[in-house]
């Protein structure tokens, strides 16, 4: 009997290697778990019955193109769309023998922080089905937390891996921009989108990152990794200089229970030999969020223009071509994509470009410089991943700005193109709290080492209480 709630990917690899379990049996065990628990959680938009590959199965966020398997980005406008090609990351998983379990739910076009913006209904948090799993990769993080997948891929634009990983009590990496191919990823904001691994442990994350990372000739924004991905073994943090950015740790709206769990973790880091000191990121935190909400919608307004009803996806036939466009896009997009298309179209308009998009790009340079300065003194920066634990379904849907604030702490480093790892660091009010580690460009190995050492001493039990 395979306990999918407890089994890590690394353990699963061991079972397969020792011949104790076949890949097909493993796939079946997860499929059974999905059949049992997913009707309540709705982590999956579709599942795959006939696995290909003998390795540890995987779930992919539904922005990742999968040949012959419907890929909707949780939007009505892509209902029924089956790609004729695999995204590079999907192809790399296939090449590694990882069979596909299914495609996971998300906020439509990855726009949101709760997975409530899915056109196919929200995903629920395995720790408390009355609460959101975070977003936009909420389907992937909920699937891993609820034992419906040993590991999964998500995508992160403003915090869409790190924040739901925190809210679901799993580990998630947002890689350095340019280290994982975006080819075949339904684009939201091209200069920020990055695919990354989600798993129960840091080592699992590293194992999966090793599969997907590296230059892809089909994505000209990717680069060669400066060093291969290592599977972390470190047990201490001797000599590691940890910076605690004041603004990220003392921002308005951080719940006391979150601060408490994060401070406890910082204390553990010190006990493991790390040197801890305070640092500042004033402009990054003040301007990160507003600038993000200029750049991301601007790029989105252009990226989503291809959904016009001409070649694939939804078409609402009506009169001339303009009317067809209007009706198709009106019927096909939900409120959040429409809101961001309008924001972005406005920000790019003649006469506003310099003040909005152009200015935001300049601020982005400032944010990068501010982080660079912090990394002259420190090896990693730490903070809560999310200001709050998982919130209740519907609590923020009426207030987009409150929803946007969920990414306050993840956005600044994303704007700087930096990698960030979220690991669970304890519970607050019975719900997981995420601990964010941010490193310089290409410091994934360092983040994995630090995350792994901390994970060991934190001893977080990743199985939700109610599912035990």
């Amino acid at each position: 009997m395979i306990d999918t709630l407890r089994l890590t990917a690394e353990e699963a690899i061991g079972l397969i290697e020792r011949g104790e379990v076949s890949g097909a049996e493993l796939h079946r065990a997860y499929s059974d778990a999905i059949a049992e628990r997913d009707p309540e959680l709705h982590a999956y938009l579709c599942t795959v019955d006939e696995p290909v590959g003998g390795g540890v199965p995987i779930a992919l966020k539904d922005v990742i193109s999968t040949r012959g398997v419907e890929t909707t980005a949780a939007s009505k406008i892509l209902a029924g769309y089956k790609p004729v090609f695999d995204a590079t990351v999907a192809a790399r998983c296939k090449d590694a023998g990882l069979p596909l379990l299914g495609k996971t739910n998300l906020d439509e076009f990855a726009m949101g922080s709760s997975t409530e913006n899915s056109a196919y209904g929200p995903t629920r948090n395995p720790w408390d089905p009355g609460r959101v799993p975070g977003g936009s990769s909420g389907g992937s993080t909920a699937a891993v937390a609820a034992g419906l997948a040993p590991w999964a891929l998500g995508s992160d634009t403003g915090g869409s891996i790190k924040q739901p990983a925190a809210l679901c009590g799993v580990v998630g990496l947002r890689p350095t921009y340019g280290t994982v191919s975006r080819f075949g990823i339904v684009a939201f904001a091209s200069s920020l989108d990055q695919v990354g691994p989600i798993a129960k442990t840091v080592r699992d994350c590293a194992l999966l990152h090793r599969v997907i990372a590296g230059r892809d000739p089909a994505d000209s924004t990717t680069v060669e990794l400066p060093e291969p991905i290592e599977i972390p073994e470190a047990e201490d943090l001797e000599g590691l200089r940890i910076g605690v950015p004041k603004e990220l740790n003392e921002a308005d709206g951080i719940e006391p229970g979150v601060t408490e769990a994060v401070n406890r973790t910082i204390e553990l880091a010190r006990e493991l030999g790390a040197e801890v000191g305070e640092c500042r990121l004033p402009r990054s935190v003040e301007y990160g969020l507003p600038c993000y909400y200029l750049i991301a919608p601007s790029e989105a307004s252009s990226n989503l223009a291809r959904y016009d009803g001409v070649r694939y996806g939804l078409r609402v036939e009506n009169g001339d071509v303009r009317t067809m466009y209007d009706r198709t896009r009106d019927a096909g997009f939900g409120d959040e994509p429409k809101r961001r298309i309008m924001l972005g179209t406005y920000a790019l308009s003649a006469g506003y470009y310099e003040a909005y998009y152009g200015q935001a790009q300049k601020v982005r340079t400032v944010i990068r410089q501010e982080h660079d300065a912090a990394f002259e003194q420190f090896d990693v920066l730490v903070s809560p991943t999310s200001p709050t634990v998982a919130f209740e379904l519907g609590a923020r849907t009426a207030n987009p700005l409150a929803m946007y604030a969920a990414d306050l702490l993840t956005i600044p480093s994303n704007m700087a193109g930096l990698p960030g790892l979220s690991i669970p660091c304890g519970l607050s009010e019975g719900l997981p709290v995420g601990f964010q580690l941010i490193g310089p460009q290409f410091s994934e190995n360092l983040l994995f080492r630090a995350g792994h050492a901390l994970e060991r001493v934190i001893g977080f039990d990743f199985v939700p209480e109610r599912l035990k």
Partner: protein, 466 residues
């Protein structure tokens, strides 16, 4: 008051790369519709562009030919607009940091050079081809159905924008002819207007001569030949002058000319106020051509057509020199020995009309044919020219066979014709010497055009005056 035209051109040149600008689909415009497409050029979700290196290199080469500067950094921008021929909803183009800037292109004229400033030359992708079925005018509005062929979608295009430095329709035509020839010789484009691999728009305004103001301009689109463009410009200049002189105001607009009906008034369409919302293409990194590459490319530049016109002008005069170079026939011209003006005339007139493949012609033998032009009947001369492209052509042998100069062979024919036309012989001898042509014609007819006209003339004169 005298008015001066102020003309600027925007030229689109299709690069003849093997594959498209941002994907690996083959460039083949005339294959069956939609047979060269992929997720990238059909804009499937998640597809990403990868720039065609050859297209970038060729644009830099063209930039050199246009006397442009190639900056250290160029970027692609997105030009956003909705249309079925534009599958991404944006065209990848260049905006404020193009590959080539600040050039000057010399157009030699009979009285000195005209130097036309080049604002920029940038690289972009072409749109798909749309066909509108039903409805009027083949336009999308009112059509029953629109069909899209994506074979052309994403193919590489260079856009060249001149400064408004051109001062006459004739100069515009010369510029275009010379640019076309330059592009062809660089080997980067077929630049054939009928195939759409060279397209251009013309911006026209007028101003009082001597002033340097820039008045409202209009844009002429849909030009399908250089001659047509010249006529269109002349007509538009006249129209604008009339408007200003009658106290009116020229409006900024786009004029679509109907190429089939030159005398028809222009069909006007007010330009839609378009905001393309340009922004840097985030899917591509900046192009940073190394100095080494830029210089190496410059070194590959052949002698440009404008320089060759000046060189040949000394031999055959400006007009023939320009004609030879812009028609691409000067290479053949320079291979053929003989008196230069005669060779130039034959190459420009006779050979052009025959449509001979210059590469197949045996230039030395052709030179002999041209040298003996005067001794050969017209039709035989033309036939000899045509035959000069056949393998193993020998001028001596051909002319010996072709032209009957043998008096022993010609005399019986001449005698018969004279005896059959006694009346005309009488008339000639009575003073109507113009009838000589009549007799020559008869002999030619009788010999199937093969008689040597010089010999026929001589023999006829002799016999008629006997």
């Amino acid at each position: 008051m005298n008015w001066e035209p102020v003309i600027g051109l925007e030229i689109h040149v299709h690069l003849k790369t093997r594959t498209k600008m941002f994907c690996r689909c083959e460039v083949a415009y005339f294959d069956p519709p939609n047979t060269h497409t992929c997720p990238v050029c059909l804009a499937f979700p998640g597809a990403l562009p990868v720039p065609n290196r050859k297209a970038v290199d060729w644009t830099i080469l063209l930039g050199h030919a246009l006397g442009c500067r190639v900056p250290d950094r160029a970027i692609f921008h997105r030009k956003n607009y909705f249309y079925p021929d534009n599958p991404k909803g944006y065209q990848i183009s260049q905006y404020d940091e193009p590959l080539c800037v600040d050039g000057a292109f010399t157009v030699p004229g009979p009285e000195g050079d005209a130097v036309v400033g080049i604002e920029r030359a940038h690289l972009e992708e072409d749109a798909a081809k749309t066909i509108h079925v039903g409805g009027a005018e083949g336009r999308i509005h009112g059509a029953d159905r629109s069909l899209v062929d994506f074979n052309r979608c994403g193919t590489p295009l260079v856009e060249i924008v001149t400064k408004p430095d051109i001062r006459s329709a004739e100069e515009a035509k010369q510029f275009l002819q010379l640019l076309r020839q330059t592009v062809v010789e660089l080997g980067i484009s077929d630049a054939e207007m009928e195939k759409g691999s060279l397209r251009f728009d013309v911006n026209v305004s007028v101003r009082p001569e001597g002033s340097d103001e820039l008045r409202t301009r209009t844009e002429l689109k849909n030009m399908n030949s250089f001659n047509f463009a010249a006529k269109g410009i002349e007509r538009e200049v006249r129209r604008q002058v009339e408007i200003w002189e009658s106290g009116g105001e020229v409006e900024q607009e786009t004029l679509h000319f109907d190429p089939g009906n030159e005398s028809a008034p222009p069909l006007r369409s007010k330009e839609e106020a378009q905001d393309y919302r340009y922004f840097p293409e985030p899917d591509l990194v900046p192009l940073e051509p190394s100095r080494e590459l830029v210089e190496r490319t410059r070194g590959k530049l052949p002698e440009l057509p404008s320089a060759r016109i000046r060189r040949l002008e000394a031999e055959v005069g400006f007009s023939l020199a320009e004609g030879l170079v812009t028609s691409g026939r000067d290479e053949l011209y320079s291979r053929i020995p003989g008196e230069r003006a005669a060779v130039a005339n034959v190459v420009m007139n006779e050979l052009a009309a025959l449509g001979l493949d210059p590469a197949a012609v045996d230039a030395d033998e052709l030179g002999k044919v041209i040298e003996r032009r005067g001794e050969i009947p017209r039709t035989a001369f033309t036939e000899a020219l045509a035959a000069s492209a056949s393998p193993g052509f020998s001028a001596d042998r051909y002319l010996a066979e072709a032209a009957i100069a043998d008096v022993g062979e010609l005399d019986p024919v001449i005698d018969r014709i004279l005896s059959e036309n006694e009346q005309q012989v009488e008339a000639y001898r009575g003073g109507k010497e113009g009838l000589l042509g009549f007799f020559v014609g008869q002999v030619m007819k009788e010999t199937g055009g093969k008689a040597n006209p010089k010999v026929v003339n001589e023999r006829l004169r002799e016999k008629l005056s006997a």
